[in-house]
Symmetry: C2
Subunit: 473 residues, 2 copies
């Protein structure tokens, strides 16, 4: 329905222009909007893949009200705030479908280790000794800063004290799907799965109906939860109608465990117990068979592909071309910064294209356009928010970013979509808008005190170093 | 020998400090140097892998004269220019062992295509119609700008009109090994291989003995040259004692051609005709057997690994762990920006680690330290310049860069080497020094007029677009 609006605007604009020539005095007043981004290429990511070379996007309140050529919008709207995007590229905000935001505090703490050594000697001890609500607050603010700076407008999170992540994301202006972790063993915010479920219940009720924060449940994985807990999570999620976020088939070890314990794949096991449903988002999905992909498709499960994490941790290569061919709702994620080591979705896009070209032995596989779709509308579909975000179309929420293309490494520019994926960095994002609110303008973050956030993180890093000191040489 | 200098300085400093307390008037004057970078972590990349947390590097003329703790150097040298590197990281300038610098003008011109379509419908027509000395000048200045900005201090180039690349590199202050292309078919600067050899001969004589520019020969590949030409190149290179740069075993097609024509591998064929020698640098080396690696090792051939190009063009995965195990002099390269799409050696490092961890199914493979070695001292060895560059040690040329670690995505920092490889971008380089000359300071490039270079490149891009228009949709 909303797709017809731009065409209608063009007709109105045309008539106004004609009338304007004939009787200048009777020109109708321009439509009043709050924000107009105008002059630069607009990469809409709509169904037609429309790119408007000199385009504009008009925003009223939290909503996109018009997308079109700059000249036409300039004639039909009057904006309280106008941002000149000449020479830049405007696109939908990026959707990071899998992260553990607070783990930015562990980035670079330990790398290049065997998985068990990394987890058991560094990450688990650090988490056991340092994860508190205050840690999660400082760390999530650092992550929010990094995401706003690098063009992520929606993130999907799995961690502890998720109510603190919610407070930080809400205040920073980000959109988020936030999953309270449920896991079989004691963790910083819950001694038992029952405690975690109770925390999750309270969290969901506290944040239900928020315009940008979607509370969710995050059962860790099939190998770290027993069947009664997995089903309790499923039932609680259905009762509240909230998303479920789970790690799936990330490593070959997980496949081996599923085979040993249940005689099937991780995907097959979760199918057998009736876990799957359309509000589930599965992260990684590396070790899946054709039958597994069919299970995911039948239950309309979203999948988050994390190429950098899968490479750095040597987990394996997810069958992205097969997911795309099957019509799976596939998004991109960075994973936590302990295993990446950053939250830059532009890197995730570039790596998705690079990795699957190599894997398929075909340079045509997973084009720049494919990766950009995964990071925008694909991610939106994977989390069931495609009617609200993921493309620049009238009626959708105004979640958008502006990318500079002025650097030497971006010169010349023949095709903005190629450049967005193959030469752009998160740092090229100059302006970030979520829900109609400008979170960063011309490189200045408006919703966080950057200096204070960085200083707090550096102070906290001392505690983290102490926590892992016995393990380090 | 030179390694003993810092220790001697410490003794002198200690004595001076003691004398200073006793009889202030007779303190000896500090050693006069031209440039002191002091305060930040110094990652030396020396044989011991020394990292000095608060370090300093002193430069006199083109040479590094001291490397040590900031407090000690501060007491022993007096510098004409001091650069405060507190909170930053100082490391050797990066060595890009394989590029076609001028191809920055074709970045993003055509992506995601089958190899033949990409070459025959885009790159070859564009080159045939646009490559002139003036094109190479504008394009090489753009590339030089990008390299200085992203911390590459030495680049190894294969292209046409290489004498123009030499002029640009010399003026911009970069160090370079520049190979004049020799190929069997007509190209923009030579109608025949004999023409190309004559051009190369003149080029080598014109630039012999330059302090930063090493002229070289660049026979394109074993499948684009006949045996007499390959041997003529070898002989000319031996006569002038200059390096030889060649593409080797980049694609499976090249292996197939070698097998069909010569019944062996590309490496084996070049061995059989007596082509190999210690001054040869082979780019890519993807399709090599254990026997091929042994051939390369026996002849002390350097190899340039180009992970991004190999992934994006779906060429295959070079056996980097096997090269390292065999003790091959291995460097990293970006390849040309038409197939990458940039010249950022930090990306090359990150991808080298990511790719080979995944390929080896081992997260310990190709550590951050390994990739940093490839990009510095490894590249220096691959081009035979290890006595001059590749590490920060007294007696070596002062080729070094300073990297900011202030960004949110770099916070906190537990380990500078992890951060240099896993979270740093070329854009984080703030200061670039080559041969003792400051080419960029605090983000301002001093040896090129950035605005003019970018404007000229954008004007030239119009011609490039025209040249490929018939091929585009």
């Amino acid at each position: 329905m909303t797709r017809t609006r731009p065409a209608a605007c063009l007709v109105v604009a045309g008539v106004l222009a004609w009338v304007g020539v004939a009787v200048a005095q009777v020109v109708e007043p321009a439509r009043q909007v709050d924000l107009l981004l105008t002059g630069g290429a607009v990469v809409t990511m709509d169904a037609a893949g429309r790119v408007i070379p000199q385009g504009a996007v008009a925003v009223a309140g939290a909503e996109i009200v018009a997308v079109g050529p700059a000249a036409e919008l300039g004639a039909t709207v009057a904006a309280a705030t106008t941002i000149d995007t000449s020479g830049q590229v405007v696109l939908p905000g990026l959707v990071n479908t899998h992260t553990h935001a607070a783990m930015v505090m562990y980035r670079g703490l330990a790398d290049d280790l065997a998985l068990l050594e990394w987890l058991e000697e560094y990450i688990f001890p650090a988490e056991a000794q340092t994860v508190t609500p205050e840690f999660v607050r400082v760390a999530s603010e650092l992550a929010a800063l990094e995401m706003i700076r690098s063009g992520t407008t929606t993130f999907v999170d799995m961690y502890y004290f998720e109510e603190v992540v919610a407070e930080v994301a809400a205040a920073a202006g980000l959109r988020a799907v936030l999953g309270q972790t449920v896991i079989q063993f004691p963790v910083p915010d819950a001694a038992t799965p029952a405690d975690a479920l109770a925390r999750a219940d309270a969290f969901i009720q506290a944040w239900a109906g928020h315009e940008r924060i979607t509370p969710a449940l995050a059962p860790h994985a099939m190998y770290t939860l027993d069947e009664p807990t997995l089903l309790a999570v499923r039932d609680l999620a259905r009762r509240h109608d909230v998303p479920v976020l789970i790690h799936l088939a990330e490593t070959e070890d997980e496949s081996r465990i599923a085979e040993e314990r249940h005689g099937t794949t991780p995907t097959g096991y979760l199918d057998a117990i009736g876990f799957w449903g359309p509000s589930v988002l599965a992260a990684h999905g590396v070790w899946v068979s054709a039958a597994d992909i069919d299970i995911l498709r039948r239950h309309d499960v979203g999948v988050s592909h994390n190429p950098e994490s899968n490479m750095k941790l040597a987990s394996g290569t997810a069958p992205v071309p097969a997911y795309l061919a099957a019509g799976i709702d596939l998004g991109l994620g960075t994973d936590g910064a302990a295993s990446n080591n950053d939250l830059d979705m532009f890197e995730a896009m570039r790596l998705a294209s690079f990795l699957h070209k190599l894997q398929a032995r075909d340079p045509r596989a997973v084009s720049a356009g494919d990766s950009l779709r995964l990071a925008t509308i694909g991610g939106a579909r994977a989390i069931g928010l495609e009617s609200e975000i993921g493309s620049l179309e009238p009626g959708k929420r105004a979640d958008l970013i502006v990318v500079s293309m002025a650097a030497a490494r971006q010169t010349p520019m023949y095709d903005p979509i190629s450049h967005l994926v193959y030469t752009t960095r998160g740092d090229d994002v100059v302006t970030t808008v979520v829900h109609g609110r400008v979170l960063m303008r011309d490189g200045r973050v408006l919703t966080l005190d950057e200096t204070a956030v960085l200083a707090a993180a550096r102070r906290l890093a001392v505690d983290v170093s102490e926590a892992v000191r016995p393990a380090a040489r």
